[in-house]
Structures are given as C-alpha cells and as structure tokens.
C-alpha cells in the first residue's frame, strides 16, 4: 500500500518527468552534450521506473487519480487504469530505447538540443494521453502532442521537411478542430464525465441519438487523422522525411498510437461498444477499418522508397487495433489492444533498421537493400525478424495478434473480417518478403554514397536498439502465454470491457 498523496501525485509526475528534462535540455543549450545525454537517459529510466511502479500497484488494485479544475465544469483528470498502464509502459520502454538510438543516430547532427527537448516534450504529451481520465484531458494532451511533434518533423529544415510539416499541421490541426467541436458538443450534452468502462452516454441515447451519432463520427474522424485512417492518412508518408528516430517514435509509439488510443477510449470508455452498435455505428467503423487495412497495404506495394513503404504499412496495421475494438468480444478486443504493443515493437524495429541503413549506407530505396545481409548481418536479422512478425509468421508477436483478431472476428460472426485479415496478411507478405529476399539473397549492389564512419560506441548503440526490440518481437511471441506477457495483461483489460 502506498500513501494516498502518492496516488495523487504519481500520474502527473509521470507526465512531468520528461517536461522537466526538456526544460533542462533547452536551457542547457547546444553545447552541453554530456549533460544532455545523462538527462535524457536518466529521465527515460526514471519514467520507466515510475510506470512500472504504478503498474504493479494497479495490478494490486490500487487506484490513482489526479484532478485539477481548469474551468468551472471542466476538469483535468489523470488516472492510471490497466489500459493507461499498457500504453504508458509501451511508451516508456520504447522511449528509452529510442533515446539510446537517437543519441547515437544524431551524433553528428546540428540542433540536437532542440531535437531532444521536443522529443522529451513529445513523450510527456504521450504519457498525458495515456493517463488521461476524461476526454478533455485527452484532447489537451492530444493537441500538445501535435505541437511538440511538429518541430521534430521539420527538424531537418529542408524544403521537403517544411512541406511535410505543413501537411502534418494541416491534417492534425484540422483533426484537432473537429475534436474540439465534438468535445464541446459532448460537454454540452453530457457534462464533465470521466472515462467509465462501458461508456456513460447510454442514458442519452433515447432522445439524442442522432446527435450522439454525429459526435461519434466527429470523434473518430478527429482521432482518425493521427491514427491514419484512410483517407485521413495523407500526412504519414510525407512525414517520413524526418530523421529516423522521429519516424520510429512517431510511427511506433507516439502519434499513430495516440490516435488509436483515442479511438479505443471513445469506443470503450465514452460510448461503450453496445451503444455504438445501437447507434448503428459499429459496422461503419468496422468497414472503415477494413478499408484502411486493405488500401494501406495496396499503397505500400507501390512504394519504392523504404520508409514510405513502412509508413503505408503502419497505416494498414494500426487499423487492426480499430478493427479489433470495433468487432468487440473478448477475443477481438484483446487482439486489437495487444496489437497496440506488438505493432509498436515490430514497427519500431523496422524503422530503426531503416534508419541505420539510411545513416550508415545511404540506403533510402528498396533496390538499395541488395546484399545488405552480408554487410550488416545483425541489423538485417532484426529487420527480418520484425518483417516476418508483420506477416504474421508464428511464433512471432504478429501471429499472436492475428490469431486473436481472427478468432474474435469469427466468434462475433463476421467471416468477412477474417477475409480482410487474411488478404492483408497476404499483402503484407507481398511487400515484405521481397525486402527480406533482397537483404539476404541478392548479390550486393554498389552503394550510392560511400559508407559513413561513426564511432564504435554509437554504432553499438544503434545496433543494440534494433536488436533489442527485435528480440522482444521474438520473445514476446514465443512466451505469449506467460502470465506477465502483454497478451495476458490485455486479456485482463478486455475482460473488463467485454466479459
């Protein structure tokens, strides 16, 4: 048992750890590199410790709640339930790994203080989203996430980066505006209500059905921009001009998962899946998710630029989460939620590897991958493991998510969803297997540029990050039935929503 004041102070503490780190980094300036590295790593580890601590307490049944009144009738609420801890722990772990990666990757880049400052702020915002206890708090941190990730997207300062940043802002700010409208409307209808498993809007369904429907569409659209639902995904591939740690973080942890998380909270904790079905919104949501899954994969097939192909793959895969939630039932909900973790791990590994290839060998296109297995076996191995996981090869984590999603779809009586999942798996194979083949089985091509030399420690750090996440991809799949695996945690969460 812990003291009551700790339950109040821990959630904001988790959010503020990286804010403080950011302030220190900004104030310290560009020159203090050692300090910056230490602050980054210390903050990341501290955050992980805090999240684990909260997680263990939540497991033991402790409740965490922090309230702050912003305006009369508007409260900022931070809490820690099992779903928060799932997202928060994913973010914390991956932030730590990405920090190590980014420190090594940006060894010779300018503007590192700015980068790491906004990087830390971005994680603060993500933690805020994870710990949000009501829609307002989620929205506030969601907008803060937009603000803090934009500088990361345009970090390189090239015309492409700035254009990508403009596109990113256009999409995400419009999404934010849509969310604000929905939020204000919802507050007008239902007042300041906190996230409740099963939703709190059921009493209003009688007279305000049409309005609830419209609000739902607005909420899904607002969150869908970041989650990359087609056709709101246009910013994702363009944002690939950002440095690799940014792509890794954005696509595995922060932005797209925040969008998906927002949709999970909306469907499960604001509306409740039963109300969603009652309003007739469940099938359209499933349809949108399926559509995104297929289109995302089809678009990925066309791409010859490596990171863009991975971006479209993200678009497709994140909709698995939405699909799982929308189909409902214990199996599908578990599958969708666990894919939050699994896809994060696999995608971050892929981006890490793509980043290493890009940095050290100047590889940006698919056909430059020829023969890299010989040059960089560990990184190629990590890439292969993650790619095979994405295809759904057992016993990797991707297979576990697919298993649960597919059985959940059939348990809910939706064989068409199963068809979509299978088509998607085949398409995934179609655009990932050629990459693996190129890595290992094609004779090495000539490099576009001479390989860059970086120090031994940064090189090790880069490889360690990629290999560590790849190892997690394998281990969490093989040991999926372990009581402490994400799968079991997710099943517990799903049991709370869909007994």
């Amino acid at each position: 048992m812990i003291a009551p004041w700790t339950t109040q102070i821990l959630p904001p503490a988790v959010v503020l750890v990286s804010t403080l780190a950011a302030i220190v980094i900004f104030v310290a300036g560009e020159q203090r590199q050692r300090l910056r590295i230490w602050v980054n790593l210390a903050a990341a580890m501290l955050k992980l410790v805090l999240v684990v601590w909260i997680g263990l307490e939540v497991l033991a049944g402790e409740e965490f709640l922090f309230r702050f009144e912003l305006l009369p009738g508007l409260e900022l609420i931070l809490h820690a339930d099992a779903l928060s801890i799932l997202f928060a722990s994913l973010s914390a772990v991956l932030w730590l790994v990405t920090t190590v990666y980014a420190i090594a990757y940006l060894e010779h880049s300018p503007n590192r203080a700015r980068f790491f400052g906004f990087f830390s702020l971005c994680v603060s915002a993500t933690m805020g989203i994870a710990m949000a206890g009501n829609l307002l708090t989620l929205f506030i941190f969601y907008e803060l996430l937009t603000l803090t990730t934009w500088p990361l997207v345009v970090h390189n300062g090239t015309p492409e980066a700035l254009a990508a940043g403009r596109s990113y802002l256009r999409y995400t700010l419009t999404g934010g505006v849509v969310l604000l409208t929905a939020l204000a409307w919802l507050y007008g209808l239902a007042g300041n209500a906190v996230f409740t498993p099963g939703g709190f809007l059921a009493p209003l369904a009688g007279e305000h059905g049409a309005e609830l429907r419209l609000i739902f569409i607005l909420l899904i659209a607002g969150f869908g921009v970041k989650a990359g639902l087609v056709p709101l995904h246009g910013w994702l591939p363009k944002a690939m001009v950002a440095p690799a740690p940014v792509s890794a973080l954005l696509h595995a942890v922060a932005v797209v998962k925040a969008g998906a998380f927002g949709i999970i909270r909306t469907v499960e904790d604001v509306y409740g899946l039963d109300l969603v079905a009652q309003l007739g919104m469940r099938l359209p949501l499933i349809a949108v998710a399926c559509w995104t899954i297929i289109i995302g994969s089809l678009l990925a097939l066309r791409e010859h630029h490596l990171k863009r192909r991975l971006a479209y793959s993200t678009v497709s895969q994140v909709s698995y989460i939405v699909l799982g939630i929308a189909v409902g039932g214990l199996l599908a909900t578990s599958g969708g939620m666990v894919h939050l973790v699994h896809q994060g791990l696999m995608k971050i590994t892929l981006f890490f590897c793509a980043g290493i290839f890009g940095l050290l060998l100047g590889v940006s296109k698919i056909d430059q991958l020829d023969g890299l297995g010989r040059r960089m076996p560990w990184v190629s191995g990590a890439f292969t493991a993650a790619a095979l996981g994405m295809i759904g090869l057992p016993p990797l984590v991707g297979f576990i998510s697919k298993w649960y999603l597919a059985s959940g779809a059939l348990a809910a009586g939706m064989p068409l969803v199963l068809a979509v999942l299978i088509t998607s798996a085949l398409l995934n194979a179609a655009y990932f297997l050629p990459l693996i083949r190129r890595l290992w089985l094609n004779p090495p091509g000539t490099l576009a540029e001479a390989p860059i030399e970086i120090g031994r420690l940064p090189r090790l750090a880069l490889m360690f990050s990629a290999v560590a996440t790849a190892a997690l991809v394998v281990v969490l799949g093989v040991l999926a039935a372990h009581p402490l695996s994400p799968l079991n945690w997710v099943v517990k969460i799903a049991q709370g929503y869909a007994p």
Binding site: R302, L393, P394, I400, S407, L426, V478, L479
Partner: protein, 548 residues
Amino acid sequence: MSALVINLLPVLAPLIVASLLAFRGRPRTFGIAAAPWMPLLLVGPLLLASRAEMTIVLLNLRLGADAVASPLIVLCAVAWGLAGWFAANRIHRDRILFWSGWLVSLAGISLALLAQDIAGFYAGYAMLSLASWLLIIHARSQEAWRAGRIYLVLALAGEMAAFAGLIAIVAAVGNIALAELANAVQLEPAWRWLILAGFAVKMGVVPLHVWLPLAHPVAPVPASAILSGVIVKAGLLGWLRLVPPGSEGADAVGPILLALGIVTAFAGVLIGLTQRRVKVVLAYSTISQMGLVLMAYSAMLMAPDRAAALLPWLGVMVLHHGLNKASLFLACSCAPGRSRLRGLLVAIPVLAISAAPLTTGMLAKTGLKTALAEAGVAHGWTMALSLTSTATALLLWHFWRLVRSERGYKTAHPAWVAMVLAGLFVPWVWVLAHGLDPHLLSGLWPATWPLGLAGALVWLKGGLAPRWRPGLPAGDMVVWMEGAARLAGKGLARLARAGAAPMPNLYPVHVRMTRTLLWMERKITALPVAGLLILGLGGLLWLVARWS
C-alpha cells in the same frame, strides 16, 4: 521435465545449429557438420511417446508423439537423416543458404509433427513452408526464382486458407489439444473445405499441384528428395489433425475427396508422361501417388469407426512412398546408367512404387484396398485403383529410360544405398510391428496384372514414340495462372496510377492571393475610400436597425 526436453529438442536443436551458421569459422564448420544428425533427435519423442505441456510458450504449447504422426516421424528421421548425409558432401555451393533452409525446415516439420495443439501445429507448418522456399530457390537462377515465386504464392495462399479454417475451430473452442478436436467442434462445411484445400496445396492435389513440377528440378537433389519424400506429407498431417476422421460432418466430404484423389492419380501420370526432364517426371509421380494417399484418407473419413485401424495402413503408404521416392531423387545425380549396381539401386524403388508383387508398393496398395473396402466403396473404384498401378508403372518406365542417360557423380553415395535399403525394409518392419496382415498371397495377382498390362502397352506403343506427345510445359496450368496474375497486376497498377494524381501546385494561387490582398489594402487605405467605407457601414447598420 525430461519429457519436455526430449520433445523440445528436435525443434530447438536445428534452430540453434542454424544460428551457428551465421558466425564464420568454427561455429559454421561445426554447424554444417552437425546438421545431418539433427533428424535423429526425432527418435527420442517417438520412443518416449509422452506429452509435454508448456503453459508459457506460444498459446500453451503441447508436444508429444502420437499414433497419427508416428509414421511421419519415422519417415522424417530416416529420409531426412539420410538425405542430410547425402547433402553433407554433395552440396558445395551456397552452403549457408542450403543448410539454413534445411535446418529451419526440419525444425518446422518437427514442430508440426510433435505439436499437440492447434497453434503449435500451425506454427510448425508455417515455418516449414517458408523455409522450404529457401531450399527451392537455392540455385538462384531465373528458373529457380520463378519456381520459388509460384511455390510461395501457392503455399501462402494455402496456409492462409488453412488458417481461416482453423481459426473457425479456435473461435469456437480455443486452442484445444488436437486429440480432443474430433469431438469438440462442429464445423460448417465451408471452413472444412478451406482447411482441406489449404493443406492440399502441399500434397499436390490437382489443381493446386502446379508448384511441384517447377520446384523439383531447380532444388538441389537432397532437397528434392525430402520435398517429395517428407514435406509434401505434412499436408496429410494437416488433414489428419484438423479434419480428423470422426469429426462431425466429415464423412460427407469423403466421396468428393475420393473422386479428387483418383483424378489426381491419373492426371499426374498423364501429364508426367509428356515431360522430358527426369525430376519433373518424378514430381508428377509424386502428385499421382499423393492422389492415392488422398483416396486412403477419404476412405478413413467415410469409415470413421475403422479409422484407428486404418491408420497403420496409411503409415505404410507414407513410408513406402517417402523412402522410395527419396531414393529415386537421390539417384538422379548419381548417374545410374553407369553400372549394374546403380541400375539395380534404381530398379528396386521403381518396382516398389509401381506396386510390383512382393514389394512395399504392393503392401501400400493392399492397405489402400483394405481401406476402400472398409469404407464400403463400390468395386469399380478398386478397379480404377488397379489401373492407377498401370499408369504409375508406365510413368516409371518413362522415368527409367530418362534417368539412365543422366550424368552425375562417379560413385554411389552410401546414403543413397541406405535409402534404397530403408525403402525396401522399413515398411515391412512397420507392418510387422503393427501386426498388419499383408495379404501376401491374395494380393499377388492384383499386383501383377496391372504391371503386365503396362508392359503390354509399352510393347504396343513401341516405347512411347514421340509422335503423340504434346508439348506441355512443366507445371501445365501454372502458365494460365501466371498470365491471369500478370493481367491483374496491370489492372491494379493502372488503378494506382489513376489514384495517385499529383497535388495541384498551389504556389501561383498563393502569389495571386497576396497580390490581390495588397492591392485591396492599398485601395481602401486611401482616405477617401476609407471615409466612404465608414459612412457606408454606418448607413448599413442604420438600415438594419431601422428595419428590425
């Protein structure tokens, strides 16, 4: 604990050895040396025959050798082991590629053989399919890539279809033990067909067989041996595990499968006769023989209460074909025409597969006939079955003539010899161990007359004169499939190009807007205009106030 280790070892050891190959120097040498011995680890679980459950692995993994898998385990241990021995000194190029594919396939098939739950079985099967691709594309020539591509497409499609079907089971009852599957679940026919079709790809049932004739010529000889000998039978295992005889509604599909089996049996031979390449002919022979296995399986489906008794006969068929076909493949690179001994070493399996009297082939045929009789199949089928023997004999005669002109190594590899001997004796040992009645005497005439007919046909046709041989490409229907795929690809590409219209260039709009705005500002900044605006607005407000 020990059960756990013994059951897990055949799966993990090949993977560990395969990872050793990544490191240059000692580990690699050790890995290549150890690789051929790996299949022997399968003997352990076979002898132990006990279950191990690992609640933290995968989705609660269960391992153990049972009666259904035991013939395949024996086959795998023997054939894979001997082929590995063969490969150890006959493979010199791209050794890491070969051995990694070899070992991971072995791990996959071991897992599939030993798995006692659905997820574990599927995991092994998927691993096997993917790793076999590495063996097929080993040569890395144009032809090998094409064969690999077609194999992969079909294998993945089949795997996905099977996955769909087995997920239907899982959705109903979860990841149950395979032993309880028969009674636990009622599948709708659609799902059952998906499972059957999915695993049928591996077996080479027409029309999903097209990858076999393409894959065999390009794979290295030992790889072809285990491909035809062991790997295709994984499909059978899939059928037996997931659509077991006795499951609800399974008997309804029996007759259809029976018909499919006989069609496959004949089709394989007929197309095989048109081919000129040795390994392609053997591939078609495999297809044909798998049709017979399909018939046995369908018989088991149609007589579920006798299924347990028929299982050993199925085992005979599997062992017989696997070992003999493997030795025929090994023969392809050993220049059998060179010496009498080698000729003999080829003749024995040829006769066996043709189901000559007193050979293991006769045993297999007997088993099949027993099964059909138990299933209450009409007598006409048995007649058709005998005709397949004729057809097979013709095909193998064709093979015999082609293989004798093959060139290869100067010596007969001991592994090849061992394989032939195994093919000769192991099925008999199996029959005796299971106390089956080989119907030696009663089976003699039914085994002889089809061969006699074949011989007559050969003599009549004068050794299959080239006139009537149409020029079918290996893989026959695959050419149409490829054409269709190409058209679809073009269509998709056109759609994609249409959908990816470039964004309009907004910069001139921006410039124009700026100019317009600045012009407007300049105009209204002029005092007279400003004054007029003020008065005008005031007037407007007054009008509105007046009016309301």
